[in-house]
Amino acid sequence: MKTRIYSIFFALGLLMVCFISVQRVAATLGEPAGSIESDRKALSTVKRGVKVRNSYTVYEIYSEANSVREYVSSLGIVFGIAWNGLVYPDITQLLGSYAGEYQKALQQTLRQKGSRHLRVQSPGVIVEQWGHMRSLQGRAYAPALIPSGVSVDEIK
């Protein structure tokens, strides 16, 4: 019951979002979408579109620097983030409470010369990157938050 009411409220919120140009990055891994003013310097980021697929919603925040796509479960929690563009988004901000765990795992990840990609795995969060100049790509997700029936490869 509560979930249904929340869903209706959320859906209304989505409708409002469709027609409003929001000058802020929506959210942070593991947090409710749109509930955190996580990036005030995002004057150039614009919430561009909302797509609904299966048991989750994808929000795209587009700027000239990059495009960031946030995967939000039906409970309104961000379980995955994907990005691509000229420069990386601020990963520390996007990972929120997972940033510390990521940084620790990053320090322990062996970098090999010539391997132009990265996978950083820790219990709570996995971050993967690939691509080349002008086309840097990546994604981050919290495995425990992925809705059942959703494949990791849908985070793109």
Binding site: S44, L106, K113, G114, R116, H117, W130, G138, R139, K156
Partner: protein, 420 residues
Amino acid sequence: MKSNKILFLLFVLLVLPGCGGGGGGGSSSSSGGGSSQTTNVLPLTVNGSTCDSSLIASSGGYINDPCVSVTVCTPGSSTCVTINSILLDTGSYGLRIFKQALGSVSLTQVTSSSGSPLAECVQYADNTSDWGPVQIARVSLGNEPAVQVPIQVIDATFATIPSSCGPPIYTPDTKPSDEGFNGILGVGPFIYDCGAICVTSSVGQYYSCSGSTCTSTVVSLASQVQNPVASFPTDNNGVIVQLPGVAAGGTTSLTGSILFGIGTQSNNSLSGATAYPLDQNGNFITIFNGVSFNEASNPNSGSFTDSGSNGLFFPSPSMSTPDAGELPDCAGVYSFWFCPPSTTNFSATIAGASGSPTKSVSFQIGNFISLINSPNYVFSDIGGNVSGTFDWGLPFYLGRNVYIGFEKESSLGTGQYIAY
């Protein structure tokens, strides 16, 4: 279908030089060096004589390291230095050289529109970065005429490194002995390393540094770090990477060439190669193991080729696909390389960004740990697991001529292709 093919053929004819469309024409009137056919040839080795073996060793054993030598001079003077172990990189654009490698050769600082020194942060997909000032150098590549272009001087100590380039997330390149190279020669299909977007938007790639404070800034095309080959008076529309083949198991070093220009001299025609158009990000399509890596259908899925990647990198076949289980990861610290029990044959299809043309490519993947326990440093059969897309790294260049066709200067963002 048929009309699309005809349109495509017309497109290919128009963009290929020497076929009546682009610059260069069909005759080989080259400048400087007379009728020599070697004005446009630069020696290229993989872990060979153009590499500094001490850098390969000090960096922990850099395998599949494609090296060239470049000569860098102070603009307007004959004070020059010839630098080897410059990484030949088709996945980036522009020349970058460690400050230490320049020695006493001073360069001219480029300023931002506010008059402060211009610097740049380049991020790589492994969270390394290059930070440093943009300076004008006079650059000679082989026997081509010297050209004056902005280059990036890699210097992690310049001003204050921004958070987009430094700890805790990014590890800036600090010295040649750590990184295994003295610099990077980016000869990918774009002329400017950022391009049109950085002219009007301050995205966090270029910085204006007043004293030690650096602020993200816009930058004109002329001031951006750019592909020196595109500035040559002729032979400026692309490059050809020519390396011999390597049998499974590898070899210690390899000697080949990089040619400047496509269809501009008698030694650089397309001959039997087929051109595959690239999209606006320099990507094409690869179909492997039943999966299509196509940026048009998935923004994080564009396939590409990159001589600075030292293996073939792609998602390991999952359990539901035809090649399931054939490419287990290596154990321990080498876990992002593949360790099949024995060398295994595969094939994939490469397609132009719009879907055509298409051609199958065969490749092999061997057991990485066995291979690096040999005395060899150059391998055609190493690969590794990466999410997202198919990166045709250095093994793709072994035993085939790979052409990188640049975007057209007159209409940036169009005309780029690879051919093989």
